[in-house]
């Protein structure tokens, strides 16, 4: 298995996540897609770590951090979703247009 294989998988995963984030109407869906993108990035980091600098572990550590941040992000994001749902009674992103010019 070459590095290219892993990178390809991570690239596709990222693009899928991106697509989801751009197209899902459901806010929860957007959040989930973002999680996918995080995972793609993680996979990327670990693959590079494994193939290019196997004697070091920095990639792993940073991945760990990303997992932490992603978890935090998920928590906050979902909390926001709950709040929005409670206040606006919708979770569809096109219904939030407070920023409308």
């Amino acid at each position: 298995m070459t590095l290219l294989h892993y990178l390809t998988v991570s690239g596709i995963l990222f693009v899928i996540g991106l697509f989801g984030a751009l197209t899902r109407r459901n806010t929860i869906g957007i959040l989930m897609s973002i999680e996918l993108m995080f995972n793609a990035a993680n996979l990327n980091l670990i693959a590079f770590n494994r193939f290019l600098y196997p004697e070091r572990l920095d990639g792993n550590v940073i991945t760990l951090f990303i997992i932490g941040v992603a978890a935090a992000e998920a928590v906050v994001g979902l909390a926001l979703v709950v709040t929005i749902y409670r206040n606006l009674n919708t979770i569809y992103s096109e219904d939030f247009n407070l920023l409308k010019g």
């Binding site: 991106l18 984030a21 751009l22 957007i30 992103s93 096109e94 939030f96 247009n97 407070l98 920023l99 409308k100 010019g101």
Partner: protein
């Protein structure tokens, strides 16, 4: 005793603080006794010094003209600049110490009776101690700077004492007037100090003296310094034209007036000139100025005393006049004579004021027209004041006679013309003093009610009176005997300054006795009966009398000056708030507005078209773009990712 001379000013100073801060205020305060005790000690020490110096048992420092010169640096700065604080004890200083402590002690004892019912007794005694302390400091200071400091303190304590009964508007106003007037003069002193230090680099009297003796100080500078100091002295010693505060200062308690007039405040000016005599003698012009100031003051003050009916004002003018004599004496190289007169004058003037206080205490008025015939009611006062009156009027062989003769002698030596005026003034003195005495004590009572209430003062007031009376009678003679005082003062005339006129031996005493006799006689004739003759005379000379009563309009002049400065102040403030402030606030606005106008012109004719075009386009674009902004977060994300994707790919793949 001698080496601890510094204690003399310090003890009363500390005492005043103790009195002020400790104990309870009130009529029954025991603090006055503390003040008297402290002053008693100072008097004891001073008189020991004085008598030892007088009897020649206190040695001068080797090769010097003083007994003691102690100093230590109070302020040091720069490379090598310093101001010392210290004591310089020489003949004049010892004399003044004796006089000041004596008068102060007597005044304090006297005040026990006089201020018996005052509710702020404690404060009064604190002020008295402070006043005396400042004066004593002034007397023995070795540096002119410290002398000036004490000089100012004397001023402020006189401010406090004159305004002691501050609830009344009169004293409040008078104290302010006294302070401001003397402060005006102090500016001259101040400038003198600046000039002096600029050239000589020291304030130490001894150093200065040797500096000037070596001829290092240019005459022009000495002149400037001398004039500055003279202005200071004019203010403090109430010379013309700055005497105006002194009559008003009578608003203070009478014992305070005695202290101010006899020993402390007003003699400070004379003492300053005496202390810095070497500067004056270095510039003969200033000597002339001193003499003329003295002569004018002596004469005009004496004329003003003629018309006054307020007993204290008469005494005030007489003080001014006598101070003029001293100044005159100093101006004609009669250093010894002036100091001699200062000493004797202190005794009889203190006595006069304390006597007047006794009278006022008894009849509760200052107006002599309501007195008369008081000798029956107050024999002690009448007798002692009588002695003082004769002394100041110049009855031969009393204290005043000796000192006045000494001055007149020196005046004649320099200028017989001045002497004529001075002798005439002596006659005036005899006249107005006798007039005062006659109006007060002799004749028939003019106000029966007040007369019947009058009573002799208590013992605490009588003791000072008698003491001073004795001194007035004999002190002059004793000091004159064998040149005792001359020896003490130890003054050497600068070379070439001796007067060239020699009077026939009989002329001087003869003239003096003549004017004395005429003055006293005239006064008795005019005022012993009813006042009608005097009133008629006044009616005939109404313009002159009016001028005298208005003090030659000096007051109006200075009030005008005050008004002028008030106007100036108002004008300044107007400028400040209306112009300067306006320039920096509204002015900026104006400038900006002008700039805006120019801008507007350019805009409307040149740039406007282009700007309008741009504006329209922008507006339209804005409206168009606005439609894109729909508040859809996801859309934004879309645009962002599109941009990032395109750009990143493009940039990285180059």
């Amino acid at each position: 005793m001698l080496e601890h001379a510094y204690l003399i000013p310090i003890i009363p100073f500390v005492t005043s603080l103790v009195i002020l801060l400790g104990g309870k205020e009130g009529k029954d305060s025991k603090m006055p006794y503390l003040g008297i005790a402290a002053m008693g000690w100072c008097f004891l020490q001073s008189s020991v010094l004085f008598f030892r110096a007088l009897s020649g048992r206190m040695p001068l420092e080797a090769g010097k003209e003083f007994f003691l010169h102690q100093r230590f640096p109070w302020l040091e700065w720069g490379e090598n600049l310093r101001i010392n604080v210290g004591v310089l004890v020489d003949g004049p200083a010892v004399t003044l110490l004796f006089v000041v402590t004596l008068v102060s002690l007597l005044v304090q004892i006297y005040s026990l009776g006089y201020m018996h019912d005052d509710k702020r007794k404690k404060r009064y005694y604190a002020y008295l101690s402070f006043f005396t302390a400042s004066m004593l400091g002034l007397v023995i200071a070795s540096s002119i700077f410290i002398l000036f400091a004490c000089w100012e303190l004397v001023g402020v304590s006189s401010y406090l004492l004159i305004g002691f009964w501050f609830e009344k508007p009169g004293p409040a106003y008078a104290s302010k007037k006294a302070f401001i007037t003397t402060k005006l003069a102090d500016c001259g002193f101040y400038v003198g100090l600046l000039i002096l230090f600029c050239y000589a680099g020291t304030f130490d009297l001894v150093s200065l003296k040797s500096y000037i003796a070596q001829g290092l100080l240019p005459v022009e500078v000495a002149k400037a310094v001398g004039i500055g100091f003279l202005i200071g002295a004019i203010g403090k010693s109430a010379q013309i034209p700055l005497f105006i505060w002194l009559p008003d200062a009578m608003e203070g308690p009478t014992p305070v007036s005695a202290l101010i007039h006899a020993a402390t405040m007003v003699v400070a000016g004379i003492y300053l000139v005496a202390r810095t005599y070497f500067i004056f003698t270095a510039a003969p012009t200033t000597m002339g100025a001193v003499a003329w100031v003295g002569l004018f003051t002596a004469f005009f003050a004496a004329t003003m005393a003629i018309t006054a009916y307020d007993i204290k004002k008469v005494l005030a003018y007489s003080t001014v006049s006598q101070l003029g004599y001293m100044m005159l004496g100093l101006g004609v190289y009669g250093y010894t004579a002036a100091l001699f007169h200062l000493t004797t004058h202190a005794f009889f003037k203190a006595l006069l004021f304390l006597g007047a206080g006794s009278v006022i205490h008894a009849v509760h008025t200052n107006d002599m027209r309501e007195m008369g015939g008081l000798y029956k009611r107050m024999p002690t006062t009448a007798a002692t004041v009588g002695i003082a009156t004769l002394t100041i009027a110049g009855l031969p062989l009393l204290s005043g006679w000796w000192s006045k003769e000494a001055i007149l002698h020196d005046v004649y030596a320099v200028s017989p013309g001045m002497w004529v005026v001075a002798v005439f003034t002596a006659g005036l003195t005899a006249f107005y003093m006798s007039r005062m005495y006659v109006l007060t004590f002799l004749g028939a009572p003019r106000n029966e009610e007040k007369h019947s209430h009058a009573h002799e003062s208590p013992l605490t007031m009588k003791i000072p009176l008698w003491t001073l009376a004795v001194l007035s009678l004999f002190a002059g003679g004793i000091l004159h005997y064998n040149g005792l005082f001359e020896h003490l003062v130890h003054f050497k005339l600068p070379e070439g300054s001796h007067g060239s006129h020699h009077a026939p031996a009989y002329l001087l005493p003869g003239a003096a006795i003549f004017v004395f006799a005429v003055g006293v006689g005239l006064a008795y004739k005019l005022y012993s009966g009813s006042l009608e003759t005097a009133q008629q005379l006044r009616g005939k000379l109404s313009i002159a009398a009016e001028t005298l009563e208005q003090r030659y309009y000096f007051d109006d002049f200075f009030l005008g000056l005050v008004k002028l400065s008030d106007k100036l102040a108002t004008a300044c403030y107007w400028i400040d708030s209306r112009i300067i402030d306006a320039i920096f606030i509204d002015g900026w606005a104006l400038v900006l507005r002008a700039l805006a106008a120019v801008n507007d012109f350019i805009d409307s004719f040149i740039v406007d078209g282009a700007v309008d075009g741009v504006g329209t386009i922008t507006q339209d674009a804005g409206w168009g773009l606005r439609k894109l902004v729909r508040g859809q977060v996801q859309e934004y994300l879309l645009y962002v990712s599109l941009a990032v994707a395109v750009f990143a790919t493009f940039m990285l793949s180059r």
